[in-house]
Structures are given as structure tokens and as C-alpha cells.
């Protein structure tokens, strides 16, 4: 825009970890004044690229130039000094401090002036006195971005910034990216979601397996052409659910998107097909169950009645929530994160007791049952935090699969029959298409997608399985894994299991669910039938707290977090 030299020029970048090549001969040019998207599936090398630019990983070969001058960071401080700011997927905020205190930790001069400048220039409002731990994820990320902007960087790198955001938060973020680019700086947006790229990017570079598989100005690269570059097969081969998850089907026209949407978004063609598919696969499941929902059975697979949960600070996390999940039904819970979804999952998992209300599984009261009893009764839970709650990364895959059922593997009465465990695990690995270095591989050595498949396989193996509750089942997974997880969930529903899916990916819920309710400030609003033509708009409105009957409010400028 203003300088001749590109903001960032990467040439021939190569980096290996042990025998695996994370990056191979990567070339990348980011013009100043643009938003440049780096696309790729998980494991394509995006994160490594970020680390190299950020100075935390030294490349084996290749060079970087920043605004024309050579740039070879040895540590993150060098990157900061050169005017590069990174915002990582995982926040670097001290939760017990306030926003303002977190900023003071940066030890910058004239902090108030800088904060005021960021506010004026980018319209990023923050309550400096708010404690970070009490902020919703979207605001925390905004804080993180403001922190990065306080240093007045020439180049801002955002690594998977929308992974934790709802649609409204994503739109606000993308609008911010555009503003930063328009002010003459450059933004590198690392993501695996095509919808975002289409909305915010000027140019894109696609990585696959550590190599650049394509790129160019986005005006010449519609999503149909980006998908094959990303996954190595044509977009048409994608299941609509997958397309939804990577943002292909997302038309971004949720009502709050008006401010940032811009003309780049296209009303997604695949979407109607997606709905048809979801309905087509899920419905027969519901009917296959003898005396299914049509017969209005007295019991439901899962039934919540007037459940209330308080947070430690006394505020209400769940406020007299009632919810029914029928046999063979897939019910989705949409909503901006922090509206009670985590508490709902903790409640179902048994790690949180409600102050009032009942949880029933198949007519049986499980309100205060221990996790063990819940599993026995047939409630499978796929927790949101895979690595901390879903599995034990330091143990073997076989151990993770059968930890709850070790009594089945006995040798000489007392010893553990590892060989039988491994055999059983092996058949699960094959059956679920889990790629692991055998049943003895450590869970931590698996990719995120395969870890999730292990967790899902374990929960689906419950006998009986009355209801499966899954939180963010496809977060951070690549497209292949998303497809596998979705089809497993559909199969379970088809076999008569009630399924509850909590997800921040609205597109995913729209193609997967029979019914969608929206979590808003501890209440469940709706439900909305995803087959209705205006389902997306209505859900978007509910996410902002509108009544189900009313269409979305005219909402310009501020994000739903700002409403809180």
C-alpha cells in the first residue's frame, strides 16, 4: 500500500523435527496493507511457520525479510523488537489480574496513550478494570489482540484466532483485521477455516504437508479452488457437514455480521444439500427406534428439569434449564462460549452438582451420580477439553480406551492382561480408522483428530449407550477427522442413542442436528428446527438474547460480549 517492499517475505524456508519435515521450501510474500491468510489442515506446518516468524523456532534453511531488510530472529524478543506481534491460539493472560494489570505487565511507556490510540484507531473497546478470569473468551482474545497492537507492530500474526469464538466474535475479529490492514500494516491470519478467508483476506497461501500447495490473491481464488489445494481432493467430494465445519457453507450472514460481512461473502450453495443430508441420515434413526419420538414416550434418553448451577462468584451459570433429548435424536446447543455450555457439560459429566433440578437418563435419576455410575447407566460424555479431561495423554492408547473397564482384562486372577488389552485396542483402532503407532503408542503421540477418535470410540463403546453428550467434538480437527466424527455421531443416533452436541460451529450444528437450542446467559432458548430456511438467522438472533419468536435485532458495531 505505502511501501514498495513487502511486509514479510519468506523464501525457501525449511524446518525438520527429527525425521519429519514440518516445512519444506516454503515461499511466502505478505504485502503491507493486506490481510494474508495462511491456510492448511492440522499438521500442514502452519504453526511451525508461526513459530519461525515469531522467533521461537530457528529454521534449518531459508530466509526471511521484513519490509525489505533481512530478519533472522533468535528468540521471541527479537520478533517483538522488529515490530512483529503474535497472538497465539492459547492466550498469554494472567487470569487473576485485571485487563489493565495484564497490559502493565508489558512494561510499555505511555500506556494510557497507547490504549487510547488502539481504541480510536481500531475501535477496540476494553474494560481495563475487568478481571480476566471473569471475561468471556471473545473478550479475552480482544484483550490479547489489543496487547499485541499496543506495541504498534508492523506485522500482526494471528494463529487460529477464531477457534474459540462464536460467529459474532469471529466477525468482529475479522473486521478488526481489515482495519489493521487498512491502516497500512500487514496481518497474517493463520486458519483452517475457508469462510474466514473469504471474508477477511486479500491473499492466501495454502500449505499442505509442509509445502506450499498454492496461493495468490483471493479475488482469483474462490473457495472451490482453495479446498483441493488444502486437502488434495476436489471440494465436491466433501460431505456437506465437513464443508460446514471449515466454513465453506457458512455464508456469514448471521444478523450481527452486518458490520463486517462485506460483499465478499457468498451465499453458500452447498448448504441446502447439507440440510437435506442431515435430515436424511438422522431422521430414520429416530424412527428406527421402536416407538420412537412419534409415540411420545414418557421417558427421554436424557431429560433435564429446571437445573440451576451457580458459579463460584454466585452468578448463575445455568438458570432453571430444561432439556429433552429423545432416543435417536441429535440435539444441538449453539451459543457464544461462556453462556453455560461448559457448566452443562460438567453437570452431565458429574463433576458439578446443580443447586436445583434433576438430570434423568432413560427415566433414571442421575443428578448426583458419580461419573462411574453415569457411564454404567449409559451416558457417554466427550468433554470439551480433550487433553485434560478426555484422555490421559501420558498413558498408552490401549490404556486410555479401557481404563474404565480394566476388570475385563485379567491374567492369573490378579495381573493385568496387557496382551488382551492390546488385541482389543487393535480392533478398535481398525474399526474406527484411528491412525496410531499401535495400541502401545502414547496417547500424546497421536494427532488431535485421532485422539478425539479414541475418546469417541471409548464413549461409544459403552453398553448400554443411552445418550452421548459431546462438547466441541470437532474442534481443532482436520477435515478427514471431522467427517469421521460426524458419521460416528450419526451412526450412534441411528442406533437409537440420544445425542447432545455442544458446539460453537453453527454450521456444524445445522447439518448435524434435528433440533438446535441456543445457550444464552445460562438459559436455553429456542429450539430452532435447522430445516427451516431462516434457521441460521434465528439462531444468530437467539445467540444475542433475542426471543425465539422475534427476528434478530439490528445490531451494529458491537459484539455480543460487549452486551454482557
Amino acid at each position: 500500500m505505502n511501501t514498495a517492499a513487502p511486509a514479510l517475505e519468506i523464501s525457501g524456508l525449511t524446518k525438520s523435527f527429527g525425521t519429519t519435515r514440518a516445512l519444506e521450501e516454503v515461499d511466502l510474500v505478505v504485502e503491507s496493507g493486506t490481510v494474508h491468510c495462511v491456510l492448511g489442515e492440522n499438521g500442514a506446518g502452519k504453526s511451525t511457520l508461526c513459530h519461525v516468524v515469531g522467533g521461537s523456532v530457528a529454521p534449518d534453511a531459508g530466509g526471511l525479510r521484513l519490509y525489505g531488510s533481512p530478519y533472522a530472529p533468535r528468540r521471541p524478543a527479537d520478533a517483538l523488537a522488529a515490530g512483529i506481534a503474535m497472538v497465539h491460539q492459547h492466550f498469554s493472560l494472567v487470569p487473576t489480574l485485571t485487563v489493565g494489570e495484564n497490559m502493565r505487565l508489558l512494561r510499555l511507556r505511555d500506556l494510557p496513550r497507547r490504549v487510547a490510540r488502539v481504541r480510536e484507531e481500531y475501535g477496540l473497546e476494553l474494560d481495563l478494570d475487568a478481571r480476566v478470569s471473569e471475561l468471556p473468551v471473545g473478550v479475552r482474545q480482544r484483550t490479547e489482540i489489543v496487547k499485541a497492537l499496543l506495541r504498534e507492530p508492523r506485522l500482526l500474526v494471528l494463529d487460529e484466532p477464531t477457534g474459540v469464538l462464536g460467529p459474532a466474535g469471529t466477525d468482529a475479529l475479522l473486521a478488526t483485521c481489515r482495519r489493521i490492514a487498512e491502516s497500512g500494516h500487514a496481518v497474517v491470519l493463520v486458519t483452517h477455516k475457508l469462510g474466514e478467508v473469504a471474508r477477511a483476506g486479500d491473499a492466501a497461501t495454502v500449505l499442505r504437508g509442509g509445502r506450499v500447495s498454492g496461493g495468490g490473491p483471493l479475488a482469483e481464488l474462490p473457495p472451490e479452488r482453495l479446498v483441493p489445494l488444502m486437502i488434495g481432493r476436489p471440494a465436491g467430494s466433501l460431505d456437506a457437514g465437513l464443508a460446514g465445519t471449515i466454513g465453506l457453507a457458512a455464508d456469514g450472514d448471521s444478523p450481527e455480521a452486518g458490520a463486517s460481512g462485506s460483499g465478499k461473502t457468498r451465499a453458500g450453495g452447498p448448504e441446502p444439500a447439507g440440510r437435506a443430508l442431515a435430515v436424511g441420515t438422522a431422521e430414520p434413526g429416530g424412527r428406527a427406534e421402536p416407538g420412537g419420538k412419534a409415540a411420545a414416550r414418557v421417558t427421554q434418553a436424557l431429560r433435564l428439569r429446571d437445573v440451576s448451577v451457580r458459579r463460584a462468584d454466585g452468578t448463575s451459570a445455568l438458570d432453571e434449564v430444561s432439556l429433552d433429548v429423545g432416543y435417536g435424536e441429535i440435539v444441538g446447543i449453539a451459543g457464544v462460549e461462556g453462556n453455560g455450555q461448559s457448566e452443562l457439560m460438567a453437570l452431565l459429566g458429574g463433576s458439578l452438582a446443580p443447586v436445583a433440578g434433576r438430570v434423568e437418563l432413560d427415566g433414571r435419576d442421575l443428578t448426583r451420580a458419580a461419573p462411574r455410575e453415569r457411564s454404567r447407566a449409559g451416558l457417554g460424555v466427550v468433554p470439551e477439553d480433550r487433553l485434560h479431561e478426555g484422555c490421559v495423554p501420558q498413558l498408552r492408547v490401549a490404556d486410555n480406551l479401557f481404563l474404565g473397564r480394566l476388570d475385563r482384562f485379567r491374567r492369573h486372577g490378579v495381573l493385568l492382561d496387557r496382551r488382551a488389552m492390546d488385541r482389543a485396542a487393535d480392533s478398535v483402532l481398525t474399526g474406527h480408522g484411528i491412525r496410531a503407532d499401535g495400541p502401545g503408542a502414547l496417547m500424546s503421540s497421536l494427532s488431535g483428530g485421532n485422539q478425539q477418535k479414541v475418546v469417541l470410540a471409548r464413549e461409544l463403546a459403552l453398553d448400554p449407550l443411552i445418550c452421548l453428550a459431546a462438547a466441541q467434538p470437532t474442534r481443532g480437527l482436520d477435515i478427514g477427522a471431522v467427517g469421521a466424527v460426524h458419521s460416528r455421531i450419526r451412526d450412534a443416533a441411528a442406533a437409537g442413542t440420544g445425542v447432545l452436541v455442544v458446539s460453537s460451529e453453527l454450521s456444524e450444528l445445522l447439518v448435524l442436528c434435528d433440533r438446535i437450542t441456543v445457550a444464552y446467559r445460562g438459559k436455553l432458548l429456542g429450539p430452532v428446527d435447522p430445516a427451516e430456511p431462516d434457521a441460521r438467522e434465528r439462531i444468530g438472533a437467539l445467540m444475542l438474547g433475542a426471543r425465539a419468536s422475534r427476528p434478530g435485532p439490528e445490531n451494529t458495531g458491537h459484539t455480543p460480549e460487549a452486551l454482557r
Binding site: 458429574g350 457411564s375 485434560h388 495423554p393 501420558q394 485379567r410 493385568l416 471409548r458
Partner: protein, 370 residues
């Protein structure tokens, strides 16, 4: 001259720290072990010089105290057994993610109970009944002592590090009170020279010797070996071992998987206490067969150090216990025969621990960063 024997045995625990990742030569566990031994040995040499003794004289005294006689070997083995028991318990609790620093207090509780039971037994009690009773009393008391910390953790979420540590002082204090009060365990005071200690245990409550009359090695050595082997098998080859490991790595995921997390944690801590209590009972049931004020001689803390150094490996527990057991007895002889304070051996031991721990800290930190 003092370093060589350390070189032989010290790398064993360090070896267990070997991770598969490639580390620079300097960070290699063997290098770390050797360096730690050389540094600690050098300090030991300095201490010996400082005490005005020739290195050769000190060395001879040390070796004499360790291997010089069957008496030396026997009492070293007893010490090693006591340390091994405490460290075995520590390892089990550590597997479940708990750090039991209360070995000393649990040892005291065990010794107290053993003395109480032992002194009330009739004089003619058969060994087949008396010995098990005394040992079981120690186990139960030690387990219950640790159980207090376990319950506090389960109920109130109090850190077991703090509670077990503080219970040490209570345990030590209780022993002191008991041996000073005639109404409690003090032997009948007949003159002003009556020591503040319990009456000796009857013949049938004393641990049988296993090495003939010359050697003071008692059945506790066998018990410690069996305990270590059985614990090793349980931790490695049974469902309980795997569950403990799972809880240790991730209580949240373990709870989600339906494991009885609280029971496993409390149970492992109680086991650690029981093992330490058993060690305490053994100390009372070994000559001079009395409970005295400082009968624990800091074994609770040394056992903790052994457990920390062994880093979860029971083979290493055995190796380090033997090393420390023999060194302790060598140190006593060092003082008696060469006039070098026995505490210098303790200093060398502690430095060894410090160096190894420091090296371990840097390796894990770097491991996490990469």
C-alpha cells in the same frame, strides 16, 4: 580418595531419568550422575581435610563401617530396609500424584503403636504372634496417620504436602510426650538415671535375626524386599497400578473415566503411611527394643529423599536405599574411628541429592520447552 564407591552406585537412580529424547551430552543422566558424585565427593574430601584427618584414614574408616564386619553389614541392611519401606510407600503415593513428606510422622505413629502393643504383650508371648501383632500395629497406626492427611485432602482439598509435613511435628512430639510420661509409655522410673524411653519389648515381640548371632540383620530386611517386589509387580502389572498412574497424570480425566479418584488417592497415601508405620514398628522391634525419643533418627526424611531420587522406580528405591543405608553406617564409624563428624556423610548425601535434583529440573524444563 573418597569418591570411588559413590561412582559405582550413584548413577543407578540417575539412569532411570533417561528419556528417549536426544539430549546434549552434558545433560545425559550418566554424565549428570558422575558429575554429581564427583562434586559431592570433592566436598566430602574437603570436609575430611577440615576435620584434620587424612583421606586414607577416613576412607578406611568409612569402608570398615560399611563392610568391615558382619555387624556392619547387618546394621547397614537394617537401615537400608527401613529406608526402602518408606521410599516404597512414597513411590506408591507418588504414582497417584501425591507427595508424601510425612514419612517421619508416620514412622513415629507406627513406632508409638508398636511400642504400646509390644509392651502390653505378656512376657511369654510366642514370636509367631507377638511379632506380627507389633508390625501390624505399626502399619495400622502409620496408615491412619497418613489417612488424616488423605481425608483432609478428599474433604477439604488441603494439600497433602502441607498436612503430612505438619503431622510430622505432631508425630515426633507425641513420641516425646509418650516416653516422658510414666502414665503413657515410659518405663517405670526407679532412679534419677532412668532414661526417658519405653520398657523393652518382650522376647516374643522382637524381630527375629536372619544372619546368625554375629549380624544384627533382622526379618525387616526380608519384609522390605518382599514389599518392594510386590509393590513393583502391582504398580507395573495390575489394574490398580494402571489406575494409580492414570490418577497421577490426570485426576480430571480419570474421574471422567469412572475411576474412584478419591479412593485411589486416599488409599495410596494410607499405603505410604502404613509402609512408614511398618518401618517405625521395625525400629522399635530391633535392638535395643525400646521406643526412645529420637528413635527415628531422621529415617522418615531420608526415606523421602530416597523416594525422590528413585523417581518412581522400585529398582532404584532398592539401589538408593542400600547406598544410603550403608553410607549412614559408614558415617557412624567415620566418627568413631577417624574422628570425622558423621554429619559430613550426611552433607555429602544431601549434596548428591541436590545436584541430581538440579540436573533433573533443568532436563525436564528443557524437555517441556522443546
Amino acid at each position: 580418595m573418597s569418591p570411588p564407591p559413590l561412582t559405582l552406585s550413584a548413577p543407578a537412580p540417575a539412569l532411570r531419568t533417561a528419556h528417549t529424547r536426544i539430549a546434549p551430552v552434558l545433560r545425559h543422566p550418566v554424565t549428570v550422575g558422575v558429575l554429581a558424585v564427583v562434586l559431592a565427593g570433592a566436598v566430602g574430601l574437603g570436609l575430611v581435610k577440615g576435620a584434620g584427618t587424612g583421606p586414607a584414614v577416613a576412607w578406611d574408616a568409612l569402608v570398615e563401617g560399611m563392610f568391615g564386619s558382619s555387624y556392619a553389614v547387618g546394621s547397614s541392611l537394617n537401615s537400608a530396609a527401613v529406608l526402602a519401606l518408606i521410599a516404597t510407600g512414597f513411590t506408591v503415593a507418588h504414582r497417584a500424584g501425591l507427595v508424601n513428606v510425612g514419612g517421619e510422622g508416620q514412622l513415629c505413629a507406627g513406632g508409638l503403636a508398636a511400642a504400646a502393643v509390644g509392651t502390653t504383650l505378656p512376657a511369654g508371648v510366642p514370636a509367631a504372634l507377638g511379632v506380627p501383632l507389633v508390625l501390624v500395629a505399626g502399619c495400622v497406626a502409620g496408615g491412619a496417620w497418613a489417612g488424616i492427611a488423605g481425608r483432609l485432602r478428599a474433604r477439604r482439598g488441603t494439600s497433602e504436602v502441607i498436612t503430612t509435613l505438619l503431622l510430622n511435628f505432631v508425630g515426633v512430639g507425641l513420641v516425646s510426650v509418650a516416653v516422658h510420661e510414666e502414665a503413657l509409655l515410659r518405663q517405670p522410673v526407679t532412679s534419677s538415671e532412668t532414661l526417658p524411653q519405653s520398657a523393652p519389648l518382650p522376647e516374643g515381640a522382637r524381630l527375629p535375626l536372619i544372619g546368625g548371632v554375629e549380624s544384627p540383620a533382622t526379618a525387616i530386611v526380608v519384609i522390605a524386599v518382599v514389599a518392594a517386589v510386590v509393590t513393583g509387580v502391582v504398580l507395573r502389572h495390575t489394574a490398580v497400578g494402571l489406575r494409580l498412574r492414570s490418577v497421577g497424570h490426570s485426576p480430571a480425566a480419570s474421574a471422567r473415566l469412572g475411576l474412584p479418584v478419591v479412593r485411589l488417592e486416599t488409599g495410596s497415601l494410607a499405603f505410604a503411611g502404613a509402609a512408614a508405620g511398618l518401618a517405625g514398628a521395625a525400629l522399635v522391634a530391633i535392638a535395643p527394643y525400646v521406643l526412645a525419643e529420637h528413635f527415628s533418627s531422621g529415617y522418615g526424611f531420608s526415606g523421602l529423599v530416597v523416594g525422590l531420587l528413585a523417581r518412581g522406580s522400585l529398582t532404584a528405591v532398592a539401589a538408593v536405599s542400600l547406598l544410603f543405608g550403608f553410607l549412614t553406617n559408614g558415617g557412624i564409624n567415620l566418627q568413631l574411628a577417624a574422628g570425622v563428624p558423621a554429619s559430613s556423610v550426611q552433607i555429602v548425601q544431601s549434596l548428591l541429592v541436590l545436584f541430581v535434583a538440579a540436573a533433573m529440573f533443568t532436563t525436564t524444563r528443557n524437555g517441556r520447552a522443546s
